[in-house]
Amino acid sequence: MSRDEKDEDMIYGLTVDERDALRTGLLGLPETMPPRAVWHRIREQAEAEGLISHPRSRRPSTWYMGGGLAAAAMLVIVILPGRVETPGVGTDAPGFASVPPPVVEIYQPEVNALQALMVESRQLETDLRSLPSEPRVVRAGTQATIIELEDRIAAIDYQLSDPTVQMTQGEQEIFWRERVRLMKSLVRLRYAQAQRTAF
């Protein structure tokens, strides 16, 4: 027993049981996540002060629109629609044989492809939210990949929600298909991460 603990027993007027109950209660109090905006504020200040090297902008510039469309178009040409399998964003690495949660494949001929992709994307968001929070043991490679995927999804969302960007239905479909593909990768990665933590 440390000197502090001896002192406490003699001076502070709590029994050992009371002390244990208090500590257990305090340690069990819930933690709170800061709002997302806090990181953006930190990043802006850090960039302004030159504390961090300039990261790739999360807000896509105009080239991204063309580049993204071209990349997504290439994807559609090379891989048949409906059979888009993630080529692996680090997901085939040894020890990463986790089976992701089942993803409901949407195939309804009467519903157009764009709507089906939107529904599938929402389902993947639900799957992602159902996973446990991020583990405390952080692996640099995995975390960097997760951030990269989230960045790319955010960039697509930005394009899809930008009222100044006029897209045809076909172009929207390309973006939504790419979003679904990235979401699948993200779900797989987070699922594997959660499994590693569990065992």
Partner: protein, 202 residues
């Protein structure tokens, strides 16, 4: 120091620390994601005001960015980050006390004693927030000392150094806090005992 803190559970690859020391934005984002919740929780616990806690999180991580080049890895990175967060939070509290022209010693007694008397400590066992509320009702300094000692595992000597006070000061704060929390602990224990008996089929 008994390290029961949630900071101690978080492990970070040395490679990330090295990248962060070079100013790599991604590495800093990884550090932020790993530690933002415990840092914010600690700051919120000390200040009780979300906006102040957010500012302190910002100050803490900016300080990390400024100083990580000097981090030698002799202590765990979590301990180092926690120390920065604690220092920033105490500086904030001290500045608040200073702004009210009160010394550290009198601040905790006079500033919130009225709050405690008016709100009291919840004794209702069904109140899910009882400990949280009781803790929040403690004067700032008492609450801070309880947290630093019982959760973060700092010794009285370390707490005294943080606060620029004596060990006796830290001990007396803890003692006063315990006296205020004691009635609630009795209720909690009764409640736990009843739950335990019920669980065992008695």
């Amino acid at each position: 120091m008994r390290d029961m803190s949630k900071f101690a559970d978080i492990q970070i690859d040395k490679a990330i620390i090295k990248r962060a020391a070079r100013g790599d934005a991604r590495a800093h984002e990884i550090l932020y994601r790993a530690f933002a919740t415990p840092v914010y929780s600690l700051c919120l616990r000390f200040t009780r005001v979300p906006a102040n806690a957010e500012d302190l999180v910002q100050e803490t991580f900016i300080e990390i960015m400024r100083s990580i080049g000097n981090f030698r890895g002799e202590a765990a990175v979590g301990s180092w980050i926690r120390r920065i967060a604690v220092t920033k939070s105490l500086m904030f509290l001290r500045s608040a006390w200073t702004a009210r022209s009160q010394t550290l010693a009198e601040g905790f007694d006079d500033m919130t004693a009225g709050d405690n008397l008016s709100h009291g400590i919840s004794r209702h066992p069904d109140d899910a927030m009882d400990l949280d509320a009781a803790l929040a009702n403690l004067p700032d300094v008492s609450r801070t000392v309880v947290w630093l000692h019982d959760v973060e595992g700092y010794t009285h000597k370390e707490i005294a150094a943080f606060m620029g006070k004596t060990e006796s000061f830290s001990k007396s704060q803890l003692s006063r806090a315990y006296q205020r929390l004691k009635p609630m602990l009795a209720v909690t224990q009764e409640s736990l005992g009843a739950d335990g008996a019920a669980a065992q089929g008695y």
